[in-house]
């Protein structure tokens, strides 16, 4: 047994947490951007990802497009020493920028104290500004055993693989209210251990309908304790299952993992928020529509014996 109870957590560092990320000018270097960590528990960093909104890639074909691979980043460990010798290009550092449920591993993991700060330096080496950059620091929060719910397997049990498909209906182009505090309830015949998730319909039926580009997901436990500090982009959390993005290195065989797995007793619940903001695509002239958003919770049913 580990010394601490680990609990999956994603720290989102986007324009809301770092206003400097709203627009990074071409050629600019911005240093010392702080990400304030929560005060409830230390955080152990184990993965890293980055993205900018898809809409700019997809829609702005007649102008020079923003390029996330022009972004170079470095960040600090506790004590403010950098974990990199110099700025590191996102395109060089990790496949797919750590998206699609496959973050760049950070190993050995780096432990930050409660209320700690990760300082980030960002550099845009491209010829155009980069807007709405978001960095994701994935890992686990560390709690003393018993301080947060810790449901686990019965002493004797049998398991079968199981998937709960979830359809979030009618997600509007700008949707920040109707799909908050949604309830996922485990069936009453068995416990469920959530190990991975998958999502789809990000690209709809192009070119007429780009589908859903900017959807965000936030998971909470039964006590409304979140598994992230802010909503996480669905295509960072989950695998990219559906073409036209070929699922190479991602996809159904490599779905986004919840680590540690989340054990939910039968008939118990998790909460989740789904939001969407495709306003950038609308302003750029894309024909966006309301869509259902299909998601899957992947794991195993646990039958006590």
């Amino acid at each position: 047994m580990t010394a601490y109870q680990e609990r999956h957590f994603d720290y989102v560092m986007g324009p809301t947490q770092a206003p400097q990320f709203l627009s990074i000018a071409a050629g600019a270097t911005i240093t010392g951007i702080p990400l304030q960590l929560d005060q409830d528990a230390p955080f152990e960093l184990r993965g890293f990802a980055a993205r900018i909104p898809y809409s700019v890639f997809v829609v702005m074909s007649t102008v020079e497009t923003e390029d996330i691979s022009a972004i170079r980043v470095r960040y600090t460990q506790p004590g403010q020493d950098y974990l990199q010798q110099d700025f590191i290009g996102l395109g060089v550092n990790m496949a797919g920028f750590g998206q699609f449920g496959n973050p760049k591993p950070v190993f050995p993991s780096v432990r930050y104290p409660a209320s700690g700060v990760i300082r980030v330096d960002v550099q845009n080496t491209g010829a155009v500004p980069v807007t709405n950059l978001t960095l994701y620091f994935r890992g686990v929060k560390l709690y003393p055993w018993g301080s947060v719910p810790n449901y686990t397997y019965p002493a004797k049990c049998a398991t079968i693989p199981f998937v709960y498909p979830i359809v979030v209906p009618n997600v509007a182009v700008i949707d920040n209210g109707p799909h908050l505090n949604q309830v996922f309830r485990v069936q009453q015949d068995a416990d469920f251990v959530l190990r991975a998730s998958q999502g789809g319909l990000f690209f709809g039926n192009p070119p007429d309908d780009p589908g859903i580009l900017e959807a965000f997901f936030r998971l909470y436990d039964e006590d409304k304790r979140p598994y992230s500090n802010a909503p996480v982009a669905v295509d960072v959390l989950f695998g990219q299952a559906i073409p036209p993005v070929n699922a190479f290195g991602t996809g159904n065989a490599l779905p986004g993992l919840w680590y540690p797995e989340i054990y939910v007793l039968k008939n118990h619940i998790l909460y989740y928020d789904v939001t969407r903001d495709d306003s950038i695509a609308v302003v750029a002239g894309a024909d966006m529509h309301t869509h259902n958003l299909p998601l899957s919770f992947i794991g195993a049913k646990v039958f006590p014996q």
Binding site: T152, Y153, T159, I160, P161, F162, V163, Y164, P165, Q187, V193, R195, Q198, G199, G200, L201, F203, G204, N205, P206, G239, A241, I242, P243, P244, N246, A247, F248, G249, T250, G251, N252, A253, L254, P260, E261, Y263, P294, S296, A300
Partner: protein
């Protein structure tokens, strides 16, 4: 927690395990021939396993037509009648392989699913397209046969 490398299952003493693949399609399953009509479901498509040895299902690969969106959902039932999902799940979000077009990574089922010799798995297919019939997929079941004694 039960985290371990997938497929790192030891073979019991006195048994030999052989990798085995079952392939089901319109060539050997009549209910998988042709298309499924728009907005319809096909239930109880049998995937009959061979009688010589138990089979441990460890991965599935469903090959769908190369469409931008393949609007077909699927649901599996194991040999004991246990559904493996709470509802139909879009094929492209569930059991299509990763890594196309360079090789394929099949979708692991964790834990593996025990199938007695000669048993039948069942699959349910639903066409979510309200207007257009869709080609039925082919289904590959990957795993091991457990044979008694040294082989």
């Amino acid at each position: 927690m039960i985290y371990r490398p997938q497929f790192a299952y030891p073979s019991p003493a006195g048994c030999t395990e052989r990798q085995f693949v079952y392939q089901f399609s319109g060539l050997n399953v009549p209910l998988l021939v042709g298309t499924i009509p728009a907005a319809s479901e096909i239930h109880n498509i049998p995937l009959a396993l061979q009688q010589d040895a138990p089979f441990f299902l460890r991965a599935i690969s469903v090959l769908a037509p190369p469409l931008a969106v393949y609007p077909v959902s699927i649901q599996f039932k194991d040999a004991y009648g246990n559904l493996l999902s709470s509802d139909f799940v879009p094929v492209g979000q569930y059991v299509t392989p990763s890594g196309t077009p360079v090789g394929t990574l099949t979708v692991a089922f964790e834990p593996d699913v025990y199938c007695p010799a000669g048993s039948v798995l069942w699959v349910y297919v639903r066409n979510d397209d309200p207007a257009v019939a869709q080609t039925l997929p082919s289904i590959s079941l990957l795993g091991v046969k457990r044979l008694m004694g040294a082989q």
